[in-house]
């Protein structure tokens, strides 16, 4: 690679510094000897716990009340309950412990110091705290079902409701019916062979089980990255809908600083730049129409539901989580690695390995990534909400995509007799979701299960159909049909 780049920057090198600054003494209490180094700062064990607790509260509590605090701090009064998304991983485990100690068992050691502006928070902030775990093992043959272990771990915390889900619930109309007291539909399908992603009915006579629908959907995706990204997206949407079902106004996830940096870079690499903000923290308004005008509304209407997704451990690194878990004697179940060779070709996994490797020699990289991402804002208008991932769609992306890569010799080419016409999913997807479903690789993803075959028409998750107003989208096909028929029979119609 020739160094032909005139914009090479000044600090092209990241010097490897000493692991910590100056002395072995704790920088907080300045009396004890340190037990742990966190990004060049030394802390003793006694100061470590209040430090992490403080960071947890600081990332969560300003967003508990519907309106942000004015000059005076007010009591914490959330609109609804709290749902904890639990994956079994290190971050989730630490999150659960902190949530429990701060808001359920009211562990005194986690209360902020008395006096001054700090009010001890002795009142129970949340009326109900639930824990939701989504099991993915049914996708991969032979993968262990950890639900019983997770249930046992959660049961150790008195007063928490445990909600176990399975990932195939995303394709289960009866799950939807239970969660939303309204019927669910699993008959809307998408044609994955064409970039337009035409919609069509999936014949309900073939009655697949939710698991079959899920596995067919995954097997039909073009790349390993697509599968991995889709599974994560499905989990997040299941958690959001469970939050609604449990009357929760807040959903907390256990992403540490490290895993947040990974998901930000992985997201950027998949075209998710417009939604960088949402990747860190977002608010979902399930009752609002996907149109831009209703989405721009900042204030929540009376009785309007919303779910705030917050990552309270976003300032806490992986190392700190490990130390917390070890010193608190927490049992970490861990997340099962998916038994699938496709992971080697997945952008998420590649990013994770890259960032984890960097963290060792350049520990400030991870916090820099997150900090940089907090300094950017989406550019331009949103043209709606993605029906798959519930995040804002940037205006003009389909036009941009076709401009950047020419795929046909002349514009007229694209439409011939064989090209189906009809409602398409493409304009209802964000850039990243569209890319997930259409972008291919020269190396096809290795199958995760030899018995599952791909299909060109696959059913969509159960939250998609309600977002299409039937009259508008699907009726159009019918309307075309009438016109077409008329053209055919035109010559045979007798004048009225």
């Amino acid at each position: 690679m020739s160094c032909g780049n005139p914009t090479v920057e000044t600090d092209a090198l990241m010097p490897r510094k000493k692991k910590y600054d100056k002395t072995n003494e704790c920088v907080r209490c300045k009396t004890s000897l340190g037990n742990i180094v966190i990004r060049h700062a030394v802390y003793c064990k006694e100061c470590f716990f209040p430090l992490v607790t403080f960071k947890f509260r600081r990332a969560l509590e300003p967003f508990v009340n519907a309106k942000p605090d004015g000059p005076r701090r007010t009591a914490l009064k959330p609109k609804g309950n709290l749902l904890v998304g639990f994956s079994g991983g290190l971050g989730s485990t630490v999150l659960l412990d902190l949530v429990y100690r701060c808001y359920v068992s009211m562990d005194k050691s986690t209360m902020p110091a008395e006096g001054g502006k700090q009010h001890p928070r002795h009142e129970r902030v949340w009326k109900k705290v639930s824990v939701c775990y989504v099991e993915v093992c049914d996708i991969f043959p032979g993968m262990k079902d950890r639900t019983p272990e997770v249930a046992q771990l959660v049961a150790q915390h008195d007063g928490l409701e445990f909600i176990p889900l399975r990932i195939q619930d995303a394709f289960d109309s009866s799950w939807w019916a239970r969660a939303h007291s309204s019927p669910g539909r699993i008959d809307l399908g998408v044609d994955l062979t064409n970039e337009e992603l035409f919609l069509n009915s999936v014949p309900s006579s073939t009655s697949s089980t939710p698991l079959e629908s899920l596995r067919t959907f995954l097997a039909s995706l073009p790349t390993a990255t697509a599968m991995s990204s889709t599974i994560n997206s499905l989990i997040r949407l299941l958690l959001l809908h469970t939050a609604l079902d449990t009357g929760s106004s807040h959903l907390v996830l256990g992403s540490s600083l490290t895993s947040l940096a990974v998901s930000l870079i992985s997201g950027v690499s998949q075209g998710r730049g417009f939604n960088v903000k949402e990747e860190m923290q977002e608010e979902w308004f399930p009752d609002r129409a996907p149109e831009p005008s209703s989405q721009r509304e900042k204030r929540t209407g009376k009785g309007e539901r919303s779910v705030r997704v917050i990552r309270p451990l976003r300032d806490v690194g992986r190392k700190e989580c490990a130390a917390w878990a070890w010193w608190s004697g927490l049992r970490v179940l861990g997340r099962e690695t998916w038994p699938w060779p496709g992971l080697k070709q997945d952008i998420g996994t590649l990013t994770k390995n890259f960032i984890f490797g960097l963290e060792k020699d350049y520990p400030s990289t991870v916090s820099t990534i997150v900090r940089t991402c907090t300094k950017v804002a989406p550019k331009g208008e949103a043209s709606g909400i993605c029906v798959l991932c519930a995040r804002p769609i940037q205006a003009g992306i389909q036009e941009w995509k076709s401009r950047i890569s020419i795929r046909s010799r002349s514009p007229g080419d694209a439409i011939d007799e064989k090209t189906p016409v009809g409602p398409s999913l493409a304009s209802h997807l964000c850039y990243a979701c569209h890319t997930t479903l259409t972008s291919t690789s020269s190396r096809p993803a290795p199958p995760f299960d030899a018995t599952v075959t791909k299909s060109s028409l696959v059913a969509l998750p159960v939250w998609v159909p309600p977002q299409f107003s039937e009259k508008e989208e699907l009726f159009r096909t019918q309307k075309m049909g009438q016109e077409k028929m008329r053209n055919v029979v035109q010559d045979f119609l007798l004048d009225e």
């Binding site: 000044t10 090198l13 940089t372 990243a432 020269s442």
Partner: protein, 358 residues
């Protein structure tokens, strides 16, 4: 396996698979689609107008050789009405530049374009070889980058051009987006996906290959039988950029659209209003007149460090303060000639151009 037909013309046999889209196409359609995408990039961004004088930053490497070829092709085919020049910078690295400069001279013959070569030696009084012997191999990239940027502007100014085009390709830009996020360079992050950048006193600079994959540039050169000199800078150390580049290559292997997807991400966000307000304002260097965020521009600071034997002076702000503490610069310090950007051709000023036809 029966031979496939080209996915674009449906007639000729497909002989290659496009790295960007995976489409299997024939040779002629590849040339067409590659050139047309660049043409669309240029017209969509409204980069040029008829009569513009455009300098092509020519290094003799694949990006600039193909760029010169494509610019000439498009200029003729679509009648952009541009006057094209080749501008090459000689950093003074023995062995590295000699061969690539020969390629640039050949390009000048092949494309019938005037060529200007500007060297670090004539501009700054220091070759990269000399710089490395003084500062060592760790920070030399800093010098080279800063010096080259100014050199391109000065060379273009001497040619009285309106516009510089460089061969930065999609891979470069994607890599830069990732790098700037990882290093927290918010100022650069806000600019790096812009196709055309212009400072107050600098010449417009554009990247027509912004959406062109590096692999496709190589493919184009291969099939068009364009010769170029592919060399690794002998002084490149273990830079952070190397890590990012390796990661990018892995991403591309996992999913080829990743390169475009990263650029799209970079275009989809901008620096927040409140952050922009705190960024340093542009001024001009008191010593040489080039644009700067401080009293002295980076190049002058680096040069002063070299001349005074405190070479690492300008690398960090801390070192700069140390340099100032040593006392003011001596009166007879070698400085960079004063910079006067001007795009109006002044026939009175002599401009040495090799093989010029004007």
């Amino acid at each position: 396996m029966p031979p496939r037909n080209c996915a674009l013309c449906h007639e000729a046999r497909a002989i290659l698979k496009r790295p960007k889209t995976g489409q299997q196409i024939c040779r002629d359609c590849f040339f067409w689609v590659f050139e047309t995408e660049v043409h669309n990039t240029i017209t969509e961004a409204g980069l040029f107008k008829p009569g513009d004088r455009v300098a092509i930053g020519a290094s003799g490497g694949k990006d600039s050789t193909v760029l010169a070829h494509v610019m000439k092709t498009l200029n003729d085919r679509y009648q952009y009405g541009l006057e094209l020049f080749l501008l090459s910078i000689d950093e003074g690295i023995t062995g590295y530049r000699d061969d690539s400069l020969e390629t640039v001279k050949r390009n000048q013959q092949q494309y019938d374009m005037p060529l200007k070569i500007l060297s670090y030696d004539e501009l700054y009084g220091w070759t990269m070889d000399a710089i490395v012997s003084q500062v060592g191999k760790r920070n030399n990239c800093t010098f080279c980058g800063v010096f080259r940027r100014q050199a391109l502007d000065r060379g273009a100014s001497a040619l009285h051009v309106d516009h510089i085009v460089t061969g930065h390709n999609a891979d470069d830009i994607a890599e830069t987006v990732l790098m700037n996020i990882m290093r927290g360079d918010i100022a650069r992050l806000g600019r790096c996906t812009m196709i055309c950048t212009q400072g107050e006193d600098t010449i417009k600079r554009s990247k027509p290959f912004k959406y062109a994959y590096e692999k496709e540039i190589v493919m184009y050169a291969y099939f068009k039988k364009l010769d170029y000199f592919s060399t690794e800078c002998i002084y490149s150390p273990d830079a952070y950029r190397g890590h990012a580049r390796a990661f990018l290559k892995d991403l591309e292997a996992a999913r080829p659209s990743a390169i475009i997807d990263i650029i799209h991400s970079g275009e989809a966000f901008e620096v927040k209003e409140e952050i922009r307000a705190t960024q340093k304002q542009q001024q001009t260097c008191k010593r040489c007149g080039y644009m700067s965020s401080n009293d002295l521009c980076k190049a002058c600071t680096l040069l002063e460090g070299l001349e005074r034997g405190i070479a690492n002076a300008a690398i960090t702000d801390r070192a700069r303060k140390k340099l100032d503490a040593e006392g003011p610069a001596p009166e007879n310090l070698r400085t960079i000639p004063f910079y006067q950007p001007s795009s109006t051709p002044n026939p009175a000023l002599p401009v040495t151009i090799e093989g010029a036809h004007n």
